[in-house]
Assembly symmetry: C2
Homo-oligomer: 791 residues x 2
């Protein structure tokens, strides 16, 4: 249909905006529950220690204490992949990081729970703690996990696509660098909270601040040995997730167990300190990158090695590791590509997915390295990137299918808007500009569970009152996915989004949806909603056609009414059209599903990386650098993003701004710092993250490259815009003061050290000198697919 | 399928039993709402008065008062039928009964709201009050409603089916009597409460203790002039309804308006006193009944006249009036039948539907009259009734289609269990037994609104976790309809009822369902659920057959698994079968609907009476009557009920017991009594209703006459068992002490008066001497359908 869009593309408020700004939105911690017990977790003070015994007698007999549990009560391990099922609700045998929960209590109030925790006696045998990547490798005395892997390596792979040696040999310039990207955490405003309720009829319900209700349901079924159908998980309003609420966490399992034992509601709210230790955020990553280019800038081959400091447990770490190697080829044509990746365990809080999951770190490396190459080749950095742009509707050397790509437009728009070409290498000393690009997923092509089944299923119902219900398991974590579902449905049915009732994020009210991660909701749940709405539209218009004798092909839904498209003409209101449908014995009900086409290449680990579509971003950052203090102040940021159709330009721009904000935080200040095994500042006072006063002017630029498979051509914008910010900033710092900071965060001390080093005649650089001494497995060679660059 | 039933017929707990007994069920009054305003209604102290003006200035300026509204703010009348749209949220022109709401306030707390009410100045002009049926008829000076009807008559009809004069002329005995049945009220334990929330995006949500969320949605859309699709009505857990929560009440409209005006949540909870005045309960009814019988007891004709004292507003009164004349023919063969019915307005609280809606009163008359006829004919009362039993699969003279009828079994079982034949007329003085029978609807054949559309629509969804969701708009008011939906769905899908998630009583989560009244839910929503579940079963088994290559015809769902029926064999668990279905691209989702077959006869008013099926009851009551005090003490009650298949015998028996309880209350003590226009005792202390210590031993007897159209053959049991109790008790009183009490309640003073009258040589009777002097309209003659008795 060439009908102009009525809802899609409009600058509408989020459908939950009023509830958020007026304070009526209910978060998990707001749920009022008469008679609820307060749950608290006892956490290990040791980084690594054997638990010889736990005496809960005194705690259990304290008046007001309803239950005390330990790892013995939760003997079944759970986790993501079989290889990663290394976690228990409470550690049964060993504590593996400071903060690892070893016991839990439920008591009448917080103070009693606190006192009960103090009465629990844990008999620990301290073990050697492995706190650095270098220290955890090799012949360790006491592996953190007694699994069938050498030492403390969680997962390591080496993959080669095409002839990398030949590619490097054919290059005119081979650039090799080492980079380090510090770990940082989500710092979502909302703390994790959960309320668990069990009833004697055998139902367990959790209201939890989670991005993935269906995954939590699945993990609880395993850890508690209950049928999944008896477990209901609901995500109330969420105050941010950013990946930190993607996996089932010990407090959720413990609250559930305490509710089952006591038969009373149990609420656990983590403190901010506990959230810093629970973590699951950005992996610290060591990166070695070698890229070969021709004199004209054409990339001939690339070799990337990453080592991820995983912390004490698996989390989604295998995926994080694979992701670190997957997406370089989606941005630029790379004819031959090798990736070595390893994730190691250390006795620190577990790392996991954070916005951009595994990809900001190698993106930082690649985009800084390209800046160096451009300088060596005396090319404009934008020109170097345009020369290597991935082709639309192509396949990469590592078997990733590219559909739409608006990266050329992003680069052109951002260069033009920022005046990059006139500023680069031409600004006064202390001021500089940097450019970087990136790409990101629109959902993972392979699910973690339930392979072969839809990733999203949406039910849409209407009735004669005009009410439209959309049931979808996805979770609005603040990104606006509920609004997206309302917009898509309303557009298809010719309604106002306010006419659409959303029922989401509840395993007992919606079919399985994989959840809100990997930037998958707009593309996947959006497509499922669109299909369901289109089926409902066809059903209703078909009934109207059959009843009125009008030609179905000339009927449409617009402005809350059935209209004729052949002659201008109004047929009947929507509610009446639904009644006509019902009168024909047909419930006005339809379902839609989305599963991506088969995308994975013919190699192990090929499930991480392929996506039905990729978003693209280009970013220019302009900075002021003070060469006396080393202080870097971002002055202005231009970020152009191809997220396909901007379903709501205001939300689209909001995500760009949020991505820039978080990207600048990672680039300049954010880091999970430890002194030994102790977090140096597990509070929002000590953990530095940008405030609004720290923010430069941001120019979000929407580049709409309509994707053939996205709902109304949409892709993603929730994660992608973060990625180019840190390298663009690093490149701008170099442009400003001539020093390369090959690691983030780019703190003043590092800038100063590089400046002083240069002043002393040393290399104008701060960054790692080498790569952790890891032995990667045997390289697995994979033939590039037909049509890949270079084939 | 001849498979034995696994769930249906089992004595299972209600699915919400635990939440009720442990206190976790949330009623409307329990809903915690931060910042909610307290709403209160100002009620008229006059029975009939013109409102000359209302000064709200002082009230509105009281600190803490957020809004004050009057009838001016709610100018649109609403009500059931067009003829009955005589009610406003707040009375705009006149107050029509003591308690009629004329203004409403919303304030920060109850005390402030109370003080604000006291500050509202209403300028009333008192008008003549019409408080009795006799007084309200004729040439009234100030009609209560200025409608196009003579005087204060709300609705009057006269209908004749077949030749009544000829039938009476052919009788050997013509018995004529006058009866009076006092008005009484529901006295549900839960008081009415509502919480209304509006948001600036234009949505209005009501959580209200209502039996009919979709009707409330519809009424609010009209009264507030809002699109129905923007209004969500949810019924939380209900603590009884019995018809008193079937219609939209002023406090619901006022709360909604106050929420829209203030933008804040508004809660109104009626006091017990207000509930007595809000009422909508049993109509006081004057009944004149003439029945002709042959010497052998065969009924030849019947003429019934009823006059209903409707109180001040219409409510469902037109239906109450029609119902009073509809169902006599469903119990016994009546070859010629005349019905004159009238409902009049009086300046008292409006009457409406209460358990049995319009039928216990004429049932009392008929069954007492049959007892008199049996005595005159020297027949056993049971024998007289068996002689006149309606035929199964027949059509009555007034065009009602009979399907299954287990009344013979009910009479035989109850007579046998009670030893009625050996006791009747043979017990010592002061002790007696009485018998009565009855029948009741399984939902109305014609809807009040939405003619031609399904009365119930149910959506059933499953997903790979094994979760099954049933969405249905019906409301569990304590009768167990949610459990019924779970049983039916679980039986069809071979699951445990605990595996079924119910989503009910919410207009934004389920398609239109007419609600919980007329004993319609089991039959109608149950059939819709069964159809939806069967479609889902066929979908899933079809997918399993296609995937495994097994023959669909030999697959079944049992015990949570797909099994083979050809060889004993287990194929896969339910959750896996759903996954198999999803893997084939088919969402595991289905809908079912129920609309009764066309049933209405060819006359106006024919919509009230026809039902897809009728339940049957027979009751024997044994009493002790103290001839010195007139005290009647029921000693034992046997009640046999044909409700089709007993889906859960325990709940079935519970409904019998509840019906007997309420029937005994109406028979012995319950009455809405007024002194002038003032209720004499609007509290549960003064309004007498039986306590558990007042209850006799009850013997519930289940008679399962499987109905061909009911879900698993079920009919109804929620209302029917009340009906025969009052006449059986009256007949037992006669058997005990030889006096006829031709009205209820049968209070000691009436018994004593009749005993004294007999002692003075007068008639051994207490009851009305005549019928209100109403002029019925011209009699409309309706030809009986072919196959009706006597044709």
């Amino acid at each position: 249909m060439s009908t102009p869009l009525a809802v899609i593309g409009q600058r509408l408020p989020k459908i939950d905006a009023w509830s958020k700004v007026t304070g009526t939105a209910r978060y998990a911690d707001d749920l009022p529950l008469a008679g609820a017990l307060c749950g608290r977790l006892l956490r290990s003070p040791h980084a690594h220690a054997r638990i010889l015994g736990i005496d809960t007698t005194a705690a259990a007999s304290l008046p007001g204490v309803a239950a005390v549990i330990t790892g013995r009560d939760l003997p079944i391990p759970y986790g993501i992949l079989p290889i990663s099922q290394d976690e228990h609700g409470l550690a049964p045998d060993k504590a593996r990081f400071v903060g690892d929960p070893v016991a839990a209590v439920a008591a009448s109030d917080d103070a009693t729970a606190e006192r009960a925790l103090a009465l629990i006696r844990v008999d620990y045998e301290p073990l050697p703690a492995y706190l650095t990547v270098e220290g955890t490798l090799g012949d360790v005395a006491e592996p953190i996990h007694a699994l069938r892997r050498p030492g403390n390596i969680h997962k390591a792979v080496a993959l080669a696509f095409g002839d990398v040696s030949a590619g490097l040999a054919a290059a005119d310039l081979v650039q090799s660098d080492h980079f380090f990207y510090a770990g940082n955490t989500h710092a979502a405003l909302e703390l994790h909270a959960v309320v668990a309720v069990s009833d004697p009829a055998g139902h367990l319900t959790l209201w939890s601040s989670t991005q993935t209700p269906h995954y939590v349901q699945r993990a609880l079924a395993r850890a508690l040995d209950l049928p999944a159908s008896r477990i209901r998980v609901v995500a109330p309003a969420l105050g941010g997730g950013f990946g930190g609420k993607t996996e089932t966490l010990p407090h959720e399992v413990a609250a559930a167990k305490l509710a089952l034992i006591t038969g009373r509601p149990v609420k656990i709210r983590l403190t901010r300190e506990e959230v810093f230790y629970s973590h699951r955020g950005r992996h610290p990553m060591h990166i070695a990158l070698t890229t070969g280019v021709k004199r004209d800038g054409t990339i001939t081959a690339m070799h990337l090695s990453t080592v991820l400091d995983g912390g004490a447990y698996a989390s989604y770490g295998v995926a994080s590791m694979y992701y670190s190697g997957a997406l370089q080829t989606v941005t630029y044509r790379v004819p031959a590509y090798r990736f070595d990746g390893a994730r190691v365990y250390t006795n620190k809080p577990p790392c996991g997915p954070k916005r951009g999951h595994g990809t900001p770190q190698p993106r930082f490396a690649l985009e800084v390295q390209l800046d160096k190459i451009a300088e060596t080749l005396a090319m404009d950095p934008a020109e170097l990137r345009l020369r290597n742009l991935v082709n639309e509707h192509s396949v990469t050397v590592n078997h990733l299918r590219i559909t739409s790509c608006g990266l050329r437009g992003c680069i052109e728009r951002v260069v033009e808007a920022s005046g990059f070409s006139n500023k680069h290498r031409r600004l006064p000393a202390g001021r500089g500009v940097g450019l970087a690009c990136s790409s990101y997923l629109c959902g993972a092509g392979l699910p973690i569970y339930w392979n072969g089944l839809p990733h999203s299923t949406v039910h849409v119902h209407a009735d004669r009152t005009g009410t439209v219900i959309v049931q979808c398991g996805a979770t609005d974590i603040g990104q606006g996915s509920d609004s997206m579902l309302a917009y898509v449905t309303a557009e298809v049915l010719g309604l106002d989004p306010a006419d659409v009732r959303l029922v989401t994020a509840d395993t007992a009210l919606a079919a399985v949806d994989l959840g809100s991660y990997s930037s998958r909701v707009t593309f996947m749940a959006g497509n499922a909603a669109m299909q369901a709405a289109e089926r409902l539209r066809d059903l209703v218009l078909g009934a109207v056609a059959a009843t009125t004798g009008l030609d179905h092909a000339h009927l449409a839904l617009r402005g809350g009414r059935v209209v004729r498209t052949d002659h201008a003409g109004d047929v009947m209101p929507w509610a009446e059209a639904v009644a006509v449908t019902e009168a024909r014995g047909t419930p006005a009900s339809a379902s839609g599903t989305y599963a991506p086409p088969p995308l994975a290449g013919p190699y192990k680990g090929a499930g991480v990386g392929p996506s039905p579509a990729y978003s693209y971003s280009a970013c220019v950052v302009e900075v002021d650098v003070d060469d006396e203090t080393g202080q870097v102040r971002p002055a202005e940021v231009w970020l152009a993003h191809d997220g396909g159709r901007a379903l709501n330009p205001t939300l689209f721009e909001g995500q760009i701004e949020g991505g820039v904000y978080m990207g600048l935080g990672e680039a300049l200040m954010e880091e999970q710092r430890f002194r030994g095994a102790l977090h140096t500042g597990p509070s929002l006072l000590d953990y530095k993250t940008p405030m609004s006063v720290d923010m430069p002017v941001i120019h979000p630029i929407i580049v709409e490259r309509i994707d053939p498979e996205g709902p109304f051509g949409a892709k993603e914008v929730g994660q992608g815009p973060l990625l180019p910010v840190p390298p663009a900033l690093a490149n701008a710092v170099y442009d400003a003061v001539g020093v390369r900071i090959d690691e983030v965060p780019i703190t003043p001390d590092k800038v100063l050290r590089a400046l002083r080093q240069r002043a002393r005649g040393g290399a104008p650089r701060f960054g790692p000198k080498g790569h952790p001494p890891i032995t990667y497995p045997v390289v697995v060679s994979v033939d590039p697919p037909a049509g890949a660059p270079g084939t």
